[in-house]
């Protein structure tokens, strides 16, 4: 039987908070790491892509432009009946963009939350229109519509994801090291022989670290929205909820993996294995469409993929909690539950 007492969870959480509070280095990292990362990633990275999902609404008049677009290998063209269909799919994130061909005008619908892809689509449409204009001896007109009606900055795409990344990284490393310490400093053995249950230990940690996650996400959000002028169209509390769920997942993953390390030194060596793939594969710096297909299933197993997606939806599209429930929140919840179970099972009292 598993006993869960809220007061014991609170006792563990309070202890975790007291320990972290005293750790100035960590507090400093919480505050400054996000800013440094934003500068590094935000300005230094840009990606290539393939497999862009592009909607095409053909109302006639531009056969040359159409075949130009169809000829681009990276584009997966989906033919659509109307511009409103295209709008819907783009705003749902199902399409990266759409081109509407009308005899007198060419309109490009772009997904404002994905910069590189938008630019590639626009560039393709413009170069196609130029070629067509040259052959038809009349100027080609391409108008652009950003579905969210604002100018897209690199930071808009990257900011929300950095928030997720920073929280994940901080919580993962600190949780893993904390659990290693519980073992090496003997306190685990000591409280194993007390009424504290394994579930309470892990939940206490989740609760204690959540406070720091909140602190960190609040400062990061402030920097992202005021410093880097990324819009916050949705409810900031919804964004915090996403981040808290992500942080909880990172914590239980750290706790689980601490069982496979014997020292803090070894924990640090998990970073390349756990953190780097998330950076590369979460679809922020390199869009999901640019990741080779056989690796994409891995992307779909990484929590940062969903957290980044949800945060972008909340911040850039103003999505509500229910709109990001599926698949993002659900996936994050599943990730948390799986590793919560794994972490508690690994906290065994007995050794053989």
């Amino acid at each position: 039987m598993i006993q869960v007492s809220l007061s014991r969870i609170g006792v563990v959480a309070l202890r975790v908070v007291r320990q972290l509070k005293r750790d100035r280095r960590t507090i400093g990292l919480i505050a400054f790491a996000p800013i440094v990362l934003m500068i590094l990633f935000g300005y230094a990275l840009s990606g290539e892509m393939s497999g862009v999902a592009l909607g095409l609404v053909d109302e006639g008049g531009h056969p040359a432009l159409r075949s130009h677009l169809e000829g681009i290998e990276d584009f997966e063209i989906l033919r659509l009946g109307s511009e409103s269909d295209a709008e819907l799919l783009v705003s749902q994130g199902r399409l990266n963009g759409a081109v509407v061909l009308q005899p007198e005008e060419v309109r490009v619908l772009l997904d404002a939350s994905s910069l590189q892809i938008s630019q590639a689509i626009l560039a393709a449409a413009q170069s196609g229109a130029q070629k067509e204009a040259a052959s038809l001896q009349r100027p080609g007109v391409v108008t652009t519509r950003y579905l969210f009606g604002y100018d897209l900055e690199m930071m808009d795409t990257v900011g929300p994801a950095i928030l997720g990344l920073v929280v994940f990284f901080f919580t993962f490393i600190n949780a893993a090291i904390s659990f290693i310490r519980e073992r090496s400093q003997g306190t685990l053995e000591k409280f194993m022989v007390s009424p504290l249950s394994r579930v309470e230990i892990v939940l206490g940690y989740v609760l204690g670290f959540s406070l720091f996650t909140l602190l960190q996400s609040t400062t990061t959000l402030l920097v992202v929205t005021f410093g880097f002028k990324v819009p916050m169209r949705g409810n900031p509390l919804t964004a915090l909820a996403v981040v808290l769920l992500l942080g909880a997942g990172a914590l239980v993953l750290g706790s689980f993996l601490s069982n496979f390390a014997r020292s803090e030194f070894q924990v640090v060596q998990f970073i390349p294995l756990i953190i780097t793939p998330q950076i590369v594969l979460c679809g922020v710096w390199w869009p999901m469409q640019s990741i080779p297909e056989f690796i994409r299933p891995i992307s779909y197993m990484l929590p940062l993929t969903y957290a980044g997606d949800a945060l972008r939806a909340v911040m850039l599209k103003g999505s509500s909690l229910t709109e990001i429930l599926f698949p993002d929140l659900l996936a994050l919840a599943v990730f948390f539950l799986v590793f919560f179970a794994a972490a508690t099972l690994m906290l065994r009292r007995q050794v053989d």
Binding site: S5, S7, R8, G10, V11, L14, R15, R18, Q19, R22, D23, Q185, G186, T187, E189, K190, F191, M192, V193, S194, P195, L196, R349, Q350, V351, D352
Partner: protein, 298 residues
């Protein structure tokens, strides 16, 4: 109520190494019980088995009447002080004590009162805001004991609690342990110090995973056949010894001193009727010798 701890044929191996070897032992309630034994004899392993941290290979182990497989149910009655450090170095004394008190659901008021009491007992009052990591070795040990006692456990398992503690405070500890035992609590202590063992109601000697001798310190000495000795400085050692031997006394001469084995202290008087030494000294048997003798015999 049965014994506080009863073990029957307990076996625990780590790989090839049989650390607890069909160990059998009974610890009655309300005593101070001292577990002695050389390094690696399995004392810590036995304590870890008692608190349910080890999966036993065989045997039957009951703790406060509860089978060890269900010992979690009575964790609130057990206080376990580990041999090695087990506190949070980055928390203050007060915070460490509060944490462990919290695990046992002790209310705020009672907790504050217990913390003050215990800090006084271990003579750390006034240091409650210091970080545990900044304590000296002996102070750390004292805090560790305080954390173990915070919930007033019925059964105390203390693995070398007095290591590094100064003699004066050790004295205080032992008085405290005695008091706990007379309040009906059971205190199991491991130590390598014979003077501490002498203070315990019962002493158990462990060797290679077995109990080789158990009893009160006096019983153990008797079991080992150890007797007090009288050391005599005699004017004419040869002739005096001859006279004593004639009366049936066992005597050895070592470096000009006669060592006479006493059956009882009463014999001292009759010895003095036979010889009049320049000086003399009574040597009580040492528990240590008793154990050495007993474990060689075992």
């Amino acid at each position: 109520m049965g014994p506080a701890i009863s073990a029957r044929g307990v076996v625990k191996s780590f790989g090839q190494l049989r650390v607890l070897d069909e160990l059998t032992l009974d610890i009655p309630r309300g005593v101070t019980y001292c577990l002695l034994g050389p390094n690696g004899s399995g004392k810590t392993t036995l304590i870890r088995a008692i608190v349910g941290l080890l999966k036993l290979d065989a045997g039957d182990l009951k703790v406060l009447g509860t089978p060890v497989s269900r010992v979690q149910e009575i964790y609130s009655k057990i206080g376990y002080m580990t041999q090695h450090k087990a506190l949070y170095p980055d928390l203050t004394l007060q915070e460490n004590l509060e944490f462990f008190a919290g695990l046992y659901g002790i209310g705020k008021q009672e907790r504050e009162q217990r913390i003050v009491e215990l800090l006084k007992m271990v003579n750390l009052q006034g240091l409650s805001r210091r970080l545990a990591g900044a304590l000296s070795g002996g102070m750390y040990q004292r805090l560790s004991l305080a954390c173990t006692l915070i919930h007033e456990p019925e059964l105390l398992l203390l693995d070398e609690p007095t290591v590094g503690v100064d003699p004066r405070l050790r004295q205080t500890f032992w008085e405290y342990f005695e008091r706990l035992a007379s309040d009906g609590k059971t205190v199991l202590i491991t130590t390598h110090l014979m003077d501490e063992a002498e203070k315990c109601r019962i002493v158990g000697y462990m060797k290679a995973g077995k109990m080789t001798a158990v009893g009160s310190p006096d019983e153990i000495k008797r079991q080992a056949g150890l007797k007090p000795h009288l050391e005599l400085w005699l004017k004419d050692i040869e002739s005096d010894c001859a006279r004593l031997r004639a009366e049936g006394y066992e005597i050895e001469i070592l470096d000009g001193v006669a060592r006479l084995r006493l059956e009882s202290h009463k014999q001292i008087k009759s010895v003095l009727e036979i010889v009049s030494p320049l000086d003399m000294r009574l040597k009580e048997p040492m528990l240590e010798e008793a154990f050495l003798q007993l474990s060689e015999a075992a």
